[in-house]
Symmetry: C2
Subunit: 190 residues, 2 copies
């Protein structure tokens, strides 16, 4: 478990083409320990509404924000001279990077962490400005899978009871069915 | 590392709506150790062509097949009396299931493994016919993330050199750039 402040930056969102992939990215961010989600590329109010609804039902709502310049965010996040709070770490997930299980133990854990997830054609500047370029295997697969494995390796098993305590719905692990606790139903009985 | 025969079954593919999610699922299957990919729902020759091209470039090509009845496949896979080779294990990934890090160590490793990945509205029969219902966290996130974490936990780090040796392209882990070996270029020099 970690109490590092974790944010995810999704580059190059295309509203018409990427809605489900980007939604999955944000859901993974929330489920695996991030608190903030920055969206670059197209604005997407509809997707933000979908994500807000998940937070209302299951707790641990993401703070979401669209950013016009992702490079400005990365630079502000990583520069000591930015005068914008504590300088942080930026880790860019790319299949060209170093292996995650070797890199993660070398990353500082006492600074805010920005995980940068590419879209199509990531500019060279992203590789240069992030202190870490991290590969979840050097094979083509999925930015959704990469983010999940990175955050899981970073944070280990999330303290579920604590993290999602403000949710209305709670799913109870089950061998062969669907067991869902609805706290609103419980409250009605009181 | 494991030498279990691993197949992935994707339920309920919708060609118009799911192309990228299902493509990511198949790419994750290939990258994390599966050799076979069964697609239920809509047929999708275009997606299969995309996946074949990845296999040609990077090695470890998936065997892909569309199935009309996923339930028939699950039953054939898991029944001893089917007379169709060795009976196997079916593990259904669902956020309602038991926690994966608790369940995986209890699963047999000497039988073929079918990992069943839901679409929308998975029928109750899938929960019943699969011997294991496995949750990668009991929060909503992504079937792509779930498959990656399940296969990674099942197989550990893949023996990359062995698994992808027939690929034309090889990506070399790098701190800050893109390093790609093209074996065709090497061969031209001989």
């Amino acid at each position: 478990m970690t109490d590092t402040r974790i944010a995810v930056l999704r580059l190059g969102h295309r509203k018409g083409r990427d809605p489900r992939i980007t939604t999955h990215l944000a859901l993974v961010a929330r489920a695996f320990g991030a608190d903030e989600f920055y969206l670059a590329g197209d604005e997407d109010a509809e997707m933000f509404a979908t994500l807000s609804a998940v937070g209302e039902r299951f707790g641990a709502a993401l703070k979401m924000q669209h950013v016009k310049s992702p490079m400005a965010l990365i630079k502000r996040w990583t520069r000591r001279d930015a005068g914008d709070g504590e300088p942080g770490t930026a880790a860019h997930l790319t299949m060209y990077g170093e292996r995650f299980r070797a890199v993660i133990p070398t990353m500082p854990r006492n600074r805010p962490l920005l995980v940068v997830v590419g879209g199509t054609k990531v500019p060279a500047e992203v590789f240069e400005c992030c202190q870490f370029n991290v590969a979840i295997g050097n094979q083509p697969h999925s930015e959704v899978a990469a983010l999940a494995l990175f955050l899981d390796e970073w944070g280990g098993d999330i303290d579920v009871a604590e993290r999602f305590k403000d949710g209305r719905l709670e799913i109870v692990p089950s061998k062969d069915g669907k067991v869902v606790i609805d706290r609103d139903d419980e409250n009605q009985g009181c």
